[in-house]
């Protein structure tokens, strides 16, 4: 490797690491993203001068970059903040696909008998990159509601997936050890794509972000493997950084839900036990519903109010309305805080992004561990479009699919106001006893309409 390129790649790697480090504080985070982008520009700039371009090569790079930049910029600009998770899945998937294609192209240049040191990482990149591509596309389709978001299961599914994986493994060994048959990677790619789809199909609901994070780590590893094939330092380091950090993030995310990664991936969450949970006689139980005026009085004369925002708030685009209500209450001397569950929204941190969009200062956003002891001193907990994260079943009923997930102690507050569109269960598809609690007042309707009504009523109170 040329010395100038080596130094430029080293600089890019340092910038990636610094960028990730800056992401650890909300104030430095945006700079962190710029730092990483600068690293990317340097890495790309250093790569170009020493390449020998064919005419066709020049054309396809020009056209490819233009088309990709257009799709990427347009997609990223147009996407609604609520749709961020599927957008991340999409951008991740195309990266995995690119890594697989790079490995395929490189393998072709070696003819029939590539050396093991090149063949092994190439085959790894093809398999993992293809799984990431196909899996991410299924995740995108599920979150975008192009297909059902619930787990798709059938008898013997684990066995079929296991056989697929074994088949791929056998194929890999055959290609690497016995003989490299020309174009054997095509079959390998097809198998890996099928496994990618089959792997994500049985996962649904609240577990999707964990899978996206895992596939993100996969793509990182596929990129690193392509780096081994091309003997490219920048790809190895950047890919590995993402692979390692993505794996840790995946673990943190499943920890936040109180479940093991294995349970997330193979548990078909929200599918098995919903029937029994929903059959718990919810028709028989009654709930207390309140009017905007009742609730306004309750809120306006409270001392401490904690707002628990959930995905329903985001869907209704009610971030601004909730901030207006909070500002109004603060003017009356009420202390308002937001309790953010680690998996509020559809990804850890997703809710913070949405509330930040409405200029809610992040000093008011309290993480679960920070605020859980304060619920018992709260006069009112306002649950806006959240459900599973305040479901006491996570603490009390071992049979529930969310049992063991850490939850917000909303049930300890003096009053609970539940703003919900209907009695429908939440993302995890299970019933919530908190709605039937005598301390709970239900306020039905679209989150934005409800909040607007409340704002008007509080002004009058």
């Amino acid at each position: 490797m040329n010395l100038a390129i080596a130094l430029a790649y080293l600089m890019a790697a340092v910038l990636f690491i610094l960028g990730l480090k800056q992401l650890s504080s909300p104030k430095g985070a945006r700079n962190g993203n710029f730092t990483a982008a600068a690293g990317m520009v340097i890495a790309l700039g250093a790569t170009l001068p020493l390449l020998h371009f064919t005419t066709a090569g020049l054309v396809i790079i020009g056209v490819g970059v233009a088309v990709g930049a257009l799709i990427g910029a347009f997609g990223a600009r147009m996407v609604k903040m609520t749709a961020i998770p599927q957008m991340v899945a999409l951008f991740n998937g195309v990266g995995g696909g690119a890594a697989a294609l790079v490995a395929v192209s490189e393998l072709l240049t070696f003819g029939t008998r590539p050396p093991f040191a090149e063949a092994f990482p190439s085959v790894f990149s093809i398999v993992i990159g293809s799984i990431s591509f196909a899996g991410s596309m299924v995740a995108f389709a599920k979150l975008q509601e192009l297909m059902t978001g619930t787990p798709i299961t059938y008898p013997g599914q684990q066995l079929v997936n296991g056989l697929l994986a074994a088949l791929i493994f056998g194929f890999v060994v055959a290609v690497l050890v016995i003989a490299s048959i020309p174009f054997s990677f095509v079959a390998l790619m097809v198998l890996a794509l099928i496994l990618g789809v089959a792997f994500v199909l049985p996962i649904g609901g609240a577990d999707m972000p964990v899978v996206i994070s895992l596939l993100n780590a996969f793509t990182g590893l596929a990129v690193a493997a392509s780096g081994f094939t091309l003997n490219n330092f920048a790809l190895i380091v950047a890919g590995t950084l993402v692979g390692a950090s993505g794996s840790l993030l995946t673990k943190l995310m499943s920890d936040a839900m109180g479940r093991s990664l294995g349970n997330v991936l193979f548990g078909a969450f929200g599918k098995v036990r919903t029937g029994t949970a929903a059959a718990g006689g919810k028709e028989a139980r009654s709930v207390r519903a309140g009017s905007a005026e009742d609730l306004a009085t309750l809120l306006a004369y409270s001392r401490r109010v904690i707002i628990v925002p959930g995905y329903g708030l985001a869907v209704a685009q009610a971030q601004h309305a909730v901030r207006e209500l909070a500002d109004l209450l603060e003017k009356r001397g009420v202390e308002v805080n937001y309790a953010i569950h680690p998996v509020a929204g559809r990804m850890p941190g997703h809710m913070n992004v949405l509330l930040a969009e409405a200029n809610v200062p992040y000093e008011q956003l309290k993480e679960m561990d920070e605020i859980n002891d304060q619920f018992r001193d709260a006069d009112v907990v306002l649950v806006v479009g959240a459900n599973d994260v305040v479901n006491p079943a996570a603490r009390s009923s071992p049979g529930s699919p969310i049992y063991g997930m850490p939850i917000l102690n909303a049930d300890q507050a003096k009053n609970i106001v539940f703003m919900k569109r209907s009695m429908r269960p939440g993302f995890a598809g299970i019933d919530n006893d908190l709605m039937y609690d005598p301390k709970t007042i239900m306020f039905f309707g679209d989150a934005k309409d409800s909040l607007t009504k409340l704002v008007t009523a509080v002004k009058a109170a």
Partner: protein
Amino acid sequence: MSNELLTEVTYFVLAIFVGIEVISKVPTILHTPLMSGTNAIHGIILVGAIVIAAGADSPLTIALGLVAVILATTNVVGGFVVTDRMLEMFKGRAAAPKSTATR
């Protein structure tokens, strides 16, 4: 094992530790931007895509190169832009009235 491969494996192992170390200090509220940011970084595969596309001379390699460059560029540009969109919203209120009065 050749010298070059040995060096590469060294980078690989060290990068694993750096990746874990850097991420372990990120607060939960930044997990989504972080995931999106790391997502943009693995767009470095664009370097690889350009390397293989540069020498494309047959219909097959041209097709592979073109698709790889498009996919990788979408990853890089989309990843960084969407991360920036998320992060530009993380603005604190300089003087927060009352709200900071937590116990």
